[in-house]
Amino acid sequence: MNSDDTISTDVLIVGAGPAGLSSAIHLADEFQKSGQNRRIMVIEKGNAVGAHILSGAILKTDALKELLSEEEYTNLPFDCEVSSDKTLKLSATGAFALPFHPPVMDNMGNKITSLCQICRYLATLAEARGVEVYAGFAVNEILYENDKVIGVKTIDTGVNYQGEKQKNYQKGTSVLARIVILAEGTRGTLAKQLKSKFDLRKDALPQVYSLGIKELWSVPEGNIKEGAVYHTFGYPLDANEEFGGGFVYGLKDNKVALGFAVGLDYADPSFDTHAAMQVWKQHPSIAKFLKDGTLIEFGAKTIPEGGWNSMPKPYTDNVLIVGDSAGMVAMPALKGVHLAVTAGMCAAKAVSKALLNDDTSEKSLSYYKELIDQSRIYSEMYPYRNFRAVMTQGLYVGGLKFGIQLLTNGACLFTPKLEHDNVASKKVSEYTGVPFKKRFEDKLTFDKKLTFDKVTSVFYSGTHHDEEQPIHLHVNDIEDFSEVNIKQYGTSCQYFCPADVYEAHIDKEGKRSLKIHAENCVHCKTCDIKAPNSAITWMTPYGGDGPQYQNL
């Protein structure tokens, strides 16, 4: 190892999202309290903090209140407070407002915010505490010594498409750390490797995900009230086929945040979440909010929503996993930011104690899990541990069983087993429902005013990738892919990817092949999750590449 390219730190945090930054902030506080003078580094693959952050977001602020000083909390860049909260059941033409919603889904008093902005703010608070935050650096590799984590290595750059070193080649930097905290967000690349190497999922159910797509609009005055919150379910989703729904939030300055999320456990290989959102926007109850407005930003991310039972063991020797990477999302409210903050604080306490005792072993770090079990992560996730599982049975049966769970603190008979999302996909020949394209054939021409094709949407994500690099989306076995994914599943990736990364190319002889437009990728990781046969592996491209979210 070239010593020039190696740096050391006490704690390395991978990912500057809410979990990583909360870990850093609280860790700096804990170190100060216990009189430890230690180095904390945070590295982030986005080209700036917040660039890869996307959330609704209606925030439960309790955790941030605990994390920050009163003054810091007061200065949080919230957009506005929720002023009304309605849940709509949409039919093809109409809408029915539920007269009530389950208390667990109530949002009154919560804040609407852009998580991009919150993270940028948290980064300044971390920096003020002496934490070093480095944006624009990507990692794909965990460093081990004697089978224990000792750090990570940033990726080599200046390598061409074929993997050959170019004149501007730069070897990645090895970062040695006594403790690594993985806060990579949903489907973290390193967390995935770690879970597999140490079998951290052995006692957990499979993790299941939703794909959420968000748009930010500027609309004429009067289209929507500031602080107005609408959640929708029903149309255009089929209650027995897809689980999900949409949201519309009125922001200040006549901005509207809207999003649409669908569980990736659907069976239809031609289902297209991006297109479904465009169909949803055409519904009169949604279109009215956007009338004569303009799209400002677009983004997509996946959400781990398996709940408590799908969480991995979040620690082993020298390493912890926090936030989305560990599946910490409260269902059915679909809220994870406050749990990410809480996880960061729990991790910080455990790490501080471990370093004080000079013991970073798995045993020492099990304190992290103890703290989680005493925190709101447990109290908000455990009672709903079976929610997502019963919902695989459809909205009506699932909804009934969920109702029972509300009375039994989550216990439920006949709970179906969760399975991986990619297993849920059916082959084209075996899918018996009406394919997505058929269901909405009259609604899939996009006018580029209200509705957009994927490439146009991608433009609004600001995504960019250096063309001179190995493609970051690995098709694990090309022949197998051709046989299974293309022939049997109709190249389902062209539909499930919200960013037009995958093109089902048909050449002049009619031969089908896959073309990958990696430059469109918005880092949502749906392909890594949903590709049948786990055929695609999402690796991290060069640091600084990817979307450039400003206010999502």
Binding site: D5, T173, G462, E467, Y542
Partner: protein
């Protein structure tokens, strides 16, 4: 130990510049990046260091404190030290003043005192928000050192620099001594990514910030006060094109057939714009008219010689030169400076094309253009003839020569103009009308705006975009003077050697002479432009002069050579038929082709702005359309150009 000094500017990310509600580009919300050309220069500096035994790398910039962020990026790429000249008083500086201030900072750091120093200045060719390419030349002149601009890559060999310079239709290999200034196009080695260890180093490195007092700059030398040129006004560029006629059909064949029908039935070309009368300078009763020319008179142009022939842009230049002379006092002369070896015959051509007097410097050693010698000769001619206006074609040579001369004459330069007129400038505060004055107009980057730039020091120097003006009618009856001129040549100005000049087929001249240009944009790349080239060659087979070209992104991606780039930073062309394939129609591209007689746009995306600037449009995949079009061309369809024969 050699010091490599990289000059760098931070600019708004072009792709993030969005149209604001007032219709102007909103730069404030755009993220800032290192100017792309400058990032290539940063890499070139790092590459040079790797070829030397130890070199110190420093990076310098001038701008607001927010530029520190980019200077730190340079450190994280491997630079050792960073300097920023930052002062509110520098606001409003033109390129002349910017070059002057940067040079002063380098002198303050101990460079530029003599020719025996051991340093190299590297810089980007031009910035994306200025597009003038002046500053590298001006810094070289201010420091009194040799220069090479528009470089693709360099090598360090036997204590000299071997550089590959892009010229029209090819390249030139140059050998330069040290010290020297080198400017780079974004076509060489792409900038390396910072390393994390570098970023840690950058975090702990202090950027040294100077204000103007620190480097002893007087207020009269900087900002608006020190700038010889100012932006007098900015106006919108209007489109005079009739609405587009779109083709209808369900297949490539049908769409092409419909296009043929449309082109036959309705000629949808550019309306002729009536020529404006030269403005009469009217004197308001309470204003004082100031003629700042101080006896300077006449227009001087440069006749560029390539391969023993006059370059077409130099002939084009005589059109505005003659027009300007007509707008000025009677008897105002158009003089042309012709430098070369055995160029007597060419002098006559210049007269036939409108020049009143050709000043000839005929010297065997001056066969090829060399910046140090040519700029020195120009300065001597300007001193002898005192022209009020000097014009250069904005070729790769003209774009480095004009700013170097502009430093010698202290008059600054307006780059890349598309219109040149005589007007007046009112200073209402001082109640002064400056007249007559040269109004140089140029489109400003990323905006559908035309800026008018004026200068108050003679000669007023402008470069005119190649292809913007027509070549004047040749008239063998016309008479004029041919005057030999013997300049004093300094042996030191021969230090840069030309090792090799390579001018290939295609590129600049054939683009200007083509009747049809087929341009491939980012949306026509999936076959490496094979179909584009096939269409061009099919037309050539039919006896139509046709060339292929590309838009800027395609050149930036390295798919096409820079010489074939159409647009603001490339070439302006006006063929009879312009076929834009997969070109999105960014304003930077439009300004380079909007004067074409007929424009045909082919794009799969109906919303692309190219359709708002074309006469005939086809929405569809170019892979479907072009084969059908090529087939029709092979059957004899030549876009109506057969009528001209």
């Amino acid at each position: 130990m050699t010091t490599i000094i990289s000059l760098m500017k931070q600019v708004p990310l072009p792709s993030q510049m969005r149209m604001g509600e007032d219709g102007l580009m909103d730069r404030t919300k755009a993220k800032s990046i290192i100017n792309v050309d400058c990032s290539f220069a940063l890499e070139a500096g790092l590459q040079l260091k790797s070829m030397m035994k130890g070199a110190k790398l420093i990076v310098c910039s001038m701008g607001p404190p927010s530029f520190e962020q980019s200077l730190k990026t340079a450190i994280s790429m491997g630079y050792d030290e960073a300097y920023l000249l930052s002062d509110r008083r520098l606001g409003g500086s033109d390129t002349f003043t910017t070059g002057f201030a940067l040079s002063r900072m380098l002198k303050h750091l101990g460079f530029g005192k003599g020719l025996n120093e051991d340093f190299i200045v590297v810089a980007g060719r031009q910035t994306s928000d200025g597009d003038t390419a002046h500053v590298p030349s001006q810094v070289a002149e201010n420091l009194g050192i040799p220069q090479a601009t528009f470089l693709e890559n360099v090598e360090f060999k036997n204590s000299t620099i071997i550089a590959r310079r892009i010229i029209e239709g090819g390249y030139q290999m140059l050998k330069l001594p040290i010290p020297c200034t080198l400017s780079f196009t974004p076509t060489g080695i792409p900038p390396r990514r910072p390393t994390l260890s570098g970023a840690v180093k950058a975090r702990n490195t202090q950027v040294t910030v100077f204000n103007t007092d620190d480097i002893h700059l007087e207020d009269s030398q900087i900002g608006l006060l020190g700038s010889p040129t100012i932006v007098a006004k900015v106006s919108s560029i209007r489109s005079e094109r009739a609405p587009i006629i779109m083709s209808q059909g369900h297949s490539g064949e049908e769409l092409v057939k419909d296009l043929m029908k449309n082109m036959k039935s309705g000629k949808n070309s550019l309306e002729a714009i009536s020529k404006k009368e030269a403005k009469k300078v009217e004197m308001p009763s309470d204003s004082e008219k100031v003629d700042f020319r101080n006896g300077a008179s006449g227009i001087l142009t440069w006749a560029e010689v390539a391969n023993g022939k006059l370059s077409r842009p130099s002939l084009e230049l005589l059109t505005p030169a003659v027009n300007l002379a007509h707008s000025l006092e009677e008897g105002t002369k158009v003089r042309t400076l012709l430098i070369g070896s055995n160029v007597q015959e060419l002098a006559k051509e210049l007269i036939y094309h409108g020049s009143d007097e050709v000043i000839i410097v005929d010297d065997a050693r001056l066969q090829e253009y060399r910046i140090l010698l040519f700029s020195s000769i120009f300065a001597q001619v300007i001193k002898a003839y005192k022209p009020e206006i000097a014009l250069f074609a904005a070729t790769t040579a003209g774009r480095e020569l004009a700013p170097r001369i502009g430093v010698k004459t202290k008059s600054g330069v307006t780059a890349d103009c598309t219109a040149l007129e005589i007007g007046e400038h009112r200073d209402n505060k001082k109640k002064i009308v400056y007249a007559p004055i040269l109004e140089s107009r140029r489109p400003t980057y990323g905006e559908s705006k035309l800026a008018t730039i004026i200068g108050f020091v003679c000669p007023q120097i402008s470069t005119a975009r190649a292809g913007t003006f027509e070549v004047p009618k040749r008239d063998e009856e016309k008479e004029g003077l041919i005057t030999p001129f013997t300049p004093e040549l300094n042996e030191q100005d021969f230090v840069t050697e030309i090792l090799e000049t390579h001018r290939g087929e295609g590129g600049l001249s054939s683009l200007f002479e083509a009747d049809v240009i087929v341009t491939g944009g980012r949306g026509a790349l999936s076959d490496d432009m094979i179909l584009i080239k096939e269409l061009a060659s099919a037309l050539n087979t039919q006896g139509v002069k046709c060339e292929w070209a590309s838009s800027r992104p395609v050149v930036d991606l390295g798919v096409c050579e820079y010489a074939r780039q159409i647009g603001q930073t490339g070439k302006t062309v006006r063929p009879k038929v312009y076929i834009a394939v997969g070109v999105s129609g960014a304003i930077q591209h439009i300004v380079g082709m909007k004067e074409s007689e007929s424009i045909i746009a082919i794009n799969k995306n109906a919303k692309e702005s190219i359709f708002a600037n074309a006469d005939f449009g086809i929405v569809g995949e170019y892979e479907d359309i072009l084969p059908a079009l090529i087939k029709e061309v092979k059957n004899g369809f030549v876009f109506g150009l057969d009528k001209d024969k």
